[in-house]
Amino acid sequence: MSPYFFYLFAAILILASLTVVLARNPLYNVLALVVAIFSLSCLFVLLEAFFVGMILLLVYAGAVLVFFLFVVMCLNLNDVKLSSGQQTRFRWLGSIVGLMFFASFCLATKSFIKAQAMDASSIRGTIEVIGKILFTDYLLPFELTSLLLLIAIFGIVSLAQGVLSTGKDFESI
């Protein structure tokens, strides 16, 4: 049963990510990413990493992508008109480079294709286990990330302040 679930979620993930890149409407992009995150979360659950899967849903899909949606709604975007052609010639090159990257990635991971099955180890990333490690071995990074979030808040507030308060430009502050 597991292989089929894997293929199902993998297919959804791939389709969703393609939609993120290829769709025109920005709303579609964001919503496609939400779908992608969902399927990713399911994959995590398949890998028995429950805690991380939940966190992904809560933080990512719950907060970050909703924030994205807010901004997309706020900005009142019209249809994207075709660009003036500045970058157009490089866009084709971009795809090619991406494919080159994929090829080199495959080259790098060649050896792992023949690796043994995943069920080899039996760790389960439950909340208790992860929590225990988080608050003992990884306490310092945990505290530091809270500091990081604080700094991020400072940054956002100062960036947005100039725009929202009197409608003046950022520069005038």
Partner: protein
């Protein structure tokens, strides 16, 4: 045994330099003070030289002293600064400072009216310092330094009246010609140094080179000798680089007396005598030297016949006598050459100063055809001039007789063609000097010259004349050869040569009297010689040939090189590099198009390529 006091030598060396510095720094506005400082400087040197002379010759054998300070020491290259005092050096030093003192004192009177005379005395002191430097140097590099410095002083003094175009040009000409010869000289010095092997490495010092000569290949030694002779050809104005000496008469007369008669031009002879050990083994070099000297002597003597400017006649006579000295050295007689140099210094300086006195009295008139019967109007000048003339012609018992005879005897015993050339030159010398004397000094004086009354020059000018006249007269009896080269036994007089040369001299004077004794208004020779006279007037076309060469060959080479530099080196090479950088920049700036995604693309492309290289796929 009283040794030489080195302090005296250093004082004698640097006193004129101190004088020059003092004048330049403090006394450039005061004519009186600057002349006194300069005279003091040279007199101090003279006094020290006299003291050193006594110190040297109180000993038997005469004392010798060398002192050196290491100036540059780089691996195998050692250059010292010092002096080598020996009998030859002290004699030359006495001449330079003694005759120099007389001329300095004379200049005080001569340059009295000139507004920029302080500058003159500064240059004169600088020259004295440089000349003393040449005399005292104990190694080739120091000698070369002072050689060039003397050339510079000469340039400054010839072109002293720089506002006059002919004077400025003459200064440049002298400097250029000397520069040319100095190039050969320097090549010779370096070649000699590279060949020298004194056991303790290579050296420029004379005393180190003397034993090292034996180990050098004779053919190379000949080349060295010829290259060093190049320097002599330029400085002592031998053929073909004699052209500057005639035009150098544009300078003030004391300059002509000091530099271009007594001392600087004699520096070449002095060099040959001082470093004679280099030339001695090579008969080819000596032969070239001898013939160059002889031909110069004859050519100058012939050209003097066609000159009408008193200073130029004397300049040609200098050339002629220098040729004789060089010939003497080429024949293996450094003693005879230096002896003649000494006596020549006496009477040539005397003649030039006398000419200066005449020029001064006649308010800068230099054409002899405008001078009448000066003997009566300017007795002191006239009589001293006569003594000088007779000494120059080699009349017994004046000093010139003894020294010139020494050279002619040397030529007689060694080489008949050279003797004939020298004797002919002496004959011509007597003729043109007689011509000069009879035209300018003999006969009835004119009533006045250009409305001015002509009278004798002031004492400050005539006293040096008298001093030099006395020296010219008794110079033969002062035993100079013994002091110059104490090791050589005194030579007996060759009666046959003496009689022949005296006869030739008297013949020359007699012929001059016959043609010019009864004063005509113009030169009768012009009509007699006809078209040949034009050749003489053009100085055997040397200047014209050189001028053509410079205009047509030299200029074109210079233009070609200038164009080469501008087009190839500057535009292609340097400009090419800048254009390369500029066009490279112009091409690569398109990478900075301000689009972030483009940068991301390049970034990722780079990462992929790096990965592929690391995995050794590419």
């Amino acid at each position: 045994m009283v040794g030489i006091d080195p302090l005296l030598v250093w004082i004698a060396f640097f006193a004129p330099l101190a004088a020059c510095a003092l004048i330049t720094l403090f006394f450039l506005d005061s004519k009186r003070a600057s002349s006194l400082v300069a005279i003091a400087g040279i007199l101090i040197s003279f006094a020290c030289s006299c003291l050193i002379f006594t110190q040297i010759f109180q000993n038997d054998p005469p004392a010798q002293l060398q002192r050196s300070l290491t100036w540059i020491h780089l691996g195998g290259l050692t250059i010292n600064f010092g002096f080598l005092m020996n009998p030859l050096a002290i004699m030359m030093l006495l001449i330079v400072t003694g005759v120099g003192s007389a001329i300095f004192i004379y200049s005080r009177g001569y340059m009295d009216e000139d507004p920029s005379s302080p500058r003159f005395f500064a240059y004169l002191s600088l020259f004295a310092f440089s000349m003393i430097g040449i005399v005292l140097s104990n190694n080739f590099i120091q000698l070369f330094m002072f050689w060039e410095l003397v050339g510079l002083s000469s340039y400054l003094l010839i072109g002293f009246w720089y506002a006059k175009p002919s004077a400025a040009d003459a200064g440049v000409k002298a400097f250029m010609v000397n520069r040319l010869s100095d190039f050969g000289f320097l090549c010779g010095i370096i070649l000699l140094w590279s060949l020298s092997d004194t056991g303790a490495g290579r050296s420029f010092q004379f005393t180190d080179l003397m034993p090292a000569i034996a180990h050098i290949d004779p053919h190379l030694l000949t080349i060295v000798g010829l290259l060093l002779f190049c320097g002599v050809v330029g400085k002592s104005a031998q053929i073909p680089l004699h052209v500057w000496l005639i035009d150098a008469m544009e300078g003030p007369t004391p300059v002509s007396a000091l530099i271009h008669a007594a001392t600087m031009v004699a520096a070449g002879i002095y060099l040959l005598a001082r470093t004679y050990f280099i030339f001695e083994p090579s008969s080819t070099a000596l032969g070239v030297i001898a013939y160059t000297g002889a031909l110069t002597s004859l050519m100058a003597a012939i050209l003097a016949v066609a000159e009408n400017d008193i200073k130029r006649i004397l300049a040609y006579s200098t050339l002629s006598q220098l040729g004789l000295m060089v010939m003497a050295l080429g024949l293996g007689g450094p003693l005879q050459g230096m002896y003649h140099l000494t006596t020549h210094a006496f009477f040539k300086a005397l003649l030039f100063l006398g000419a200066g006195s005449v020029i001064y009295a006649l308010h800068h008139e230099q054409n002899i055809w405008n001078m009448h019967g000066l003997l009566k109007k300017m007795p002191v000048t006239g009589i001293t001039f006569l003594i000088g003339t007779l000494a120059l012609c080699g009349i017994f018992p004046l000093s010139g007789f003894w020294s010139k005879d020494g050279i002619l005897a040397l030529a007689y015993t060694h080489s008949t063609p050279l003797y004939l050339i020298a004797a002919t030159a002496s004959g011509f010398t007597a003729f043109y000097m007689g011509r000069l004397f009879f035209v300018a000094f003999w006969g009835e004086p004119a009533a006045a010259h250009h409305g001015h009354e002509v009278h004798e020059s002031p004492a400050v000018m005539t006293l040096p004349l008298v001093f030099l006249a006395i020296l010219s007269a008794i110079g033969g009896f002062m035993g100079i050869p013994h002091y110059l080269f104490p090791q050589e036994a005194p030579e007996a007089l060759n009666m046959r040569v003496a009689l022949i040369s005296s006869a030739v001299a008297v013949l020359g004077l007699g012929l001059a009297y016959k043609i010019y004794g009864r004063r005509a208004s113009t030169d009768p020779l012009v009509s007699k010689l006809g078209s040949f006279y034009a050749v003489l007037q053009n100085k055997f076309y040397f200047d014209i040939v050189y001028g053509w060469y410079v205009d047509h060959v030299q200029q074109n080479i210079a233009l070609f090189l200038s164009r080469f530099e501008k087009e190839f080196l500057l535009r292609l090479c340097v400009g090419g590099i800048t254009n390369l950088a500029r066009s490279g920049g112009k091409t690569f700036r398109y990478l900075q198009n301000g689009l972030v995604q483009f940068y991301a693309l390049i970034f990722i492309l780079g990462a992929v390529l790096l990965f592929l290289i690391l995995v050794k796929t590419i």
